[in-house]
């Protein structure tokens, strides 16, 4: 499978979740694991260009496919991805645990709706939980990210 542009062999354990494979085998610990049943959205990654829950896929299923994690959005030392920059500017994070998942979901949202309405923003982040309840600034971050992406 190709993760952030680098080819990796599939794991030998066919029962390994994609989220665990990314974190434990590839050391990409930016993908967080919250609930492990698809509710919290912290483990969201891109799979062939669309955001999915990495805790609801077996790693072996990603063989031959493209995976992008939060680490793949901007290289070390390079400018932040517009969505990351927007979260930074608008204080769209508090403890930061949910942030990688939110950022990946918002990248997906802006691909489908480059100029989202407030309703589309709410719909687009409704599948991610922020335990700090920082939703107001996350909404602002999405609007700012749309501006920065133009």
């Amino acid at each position: 499978m190709i993760v952030n542009g680098v080819e990796h062999p599939a794991p030998s354990d066919v029962r390994r979740l994609l989220s665990d494979h990314l974190r434990h085998d590839l050391g990409l610990t930016g993908t967080h694991v919250g609930c492990e049943h698809g509710v919290c959205g912290c483990c969201t990654v891109f799979f062939d260009g669309a955001p999915v829950r990495s805790c609801l896929m077996l790693a072996i299923q990603a063989e031959g496919h493209q995976v992008t994690t939060i680490e793949g959005l901007a290289a070390d030392g390079a400018p932040l991805h517009p969505v990351q920059q927007a979260f930074h500017e608008t204080h769209g994070l508090q403890c930061g645990f949910c942030t990688p998942g939110f950022v990946m979901s918002v990248v997906g949202l802006l691909k489908e709706h480059p100029d989202p309405t407030p309703g589309q923003i709410d719909e687009g982040i409704s599948g991610n939980l922020c335990r700090c309840t920082g939703y107001a600034s996350i909404r602002r971050a999405v609007a700012r990210a749309a501006e920065l992406s133009r």
């Binding site: 829950r53 609801l56 299923q61 599948g127």
Partner: protein, 222 residues
């Protein structure tokens, strides 16, 4: 049988399902079509819910189905989850089995022994139980085209959660979900007749019956 995995993988993660073998069908090519057939829309086993949501054919021929898919979890889940998987999973609080029932659709079950068509009214046996044999796959689900008055209304604690109770209206037909072991047909004049919904932390049986009465009234007021 693993397609989208948005219901099965959580069950595996929680060790609630411990299958000896898991067959992943995702690498079967040409099983992800959404196409017109017999005056309706056929959705194949690997068609993602997001693809159904975005389908022009579904929007034109069966807008009720599109409305229902939008109530299924969240877009990120729908990017992976399949419509046929939701039907095979047969969660009694799920929207898509109720839509199949309300519209009088069917599924094509395929096994090494051949294919057979199962009507929605013969498919759902109980909570997470269908009349599919262990070796049968839902190859596609078929929804008759319907452009008449329709609505799908539900109440849930949070957007994207399973419904506490919900109703589907297709013309004069009414299907109810979340209030029995399977989706059930209801009578618009007396929608709660014969229902004995279960209670849990989120809703009492009486509240679920109340929701059915209110939602049915709203569905037919449109």
């Amino acid at each position: 049988m693993l397609a989208g995995g948005q219901s099965l993988v959580p069950l595996l993660n929680f060790r609630l399902a411990r299958p000896a073998h898991l067959v992943d069908i995702n690498r079967i090519s040409s099983l992800d079509r959404i196409y017109e057939r017999d005056g309706g829309v056929a959705v194949q086993a690997l068609a993602r819910q997001a693809a159904v949501e975005d389908s022009e054919l579904v929007e034109r021929a069966c807008p009720l189905l599109r409305d229902a898919v939008r109530l299924v979890a969240h877009r990120v889940i729908r990017n992976r989850g399949t419509l046929c998987g939701s039907i095979a999973h047969a969660d009694p609080a799920s929207e898509l089995p109720a839509v199949l029932l309300a519209l009088g659709g069917n599924v094509v079950a395929h096994s090494a022994r051949g294919r057979r068509t199962i009507g929605a009214d013969k498919l759902f046996n109980g909570v997470f139980e269908t009349s599919l044999a262990p070796d049968e796959l839902i190859e596609e689900a078929w929804f008759p085209a319907f452009g008449g008055k329709h609505a799908i209304l539900e109440e849930s604690r949070r957007h994207g959660d399973f419904a506490l109770a919900g109703v589907v209206r297709a013309g004069d037909r009414l299907a109810l979900f979340g209030v029995a072991g399977t989706p059930v047909m209801g009578d618009r004049g007396d929608p709660t007749r014969g229902l004995q919904p279960s209670g849990d932390l989120e809703a009492t049986p009486a509240f679920r019956l109340h929701l059915i009465r209110v939602l049915t009234e709203q569905a037919f007021a449109a």
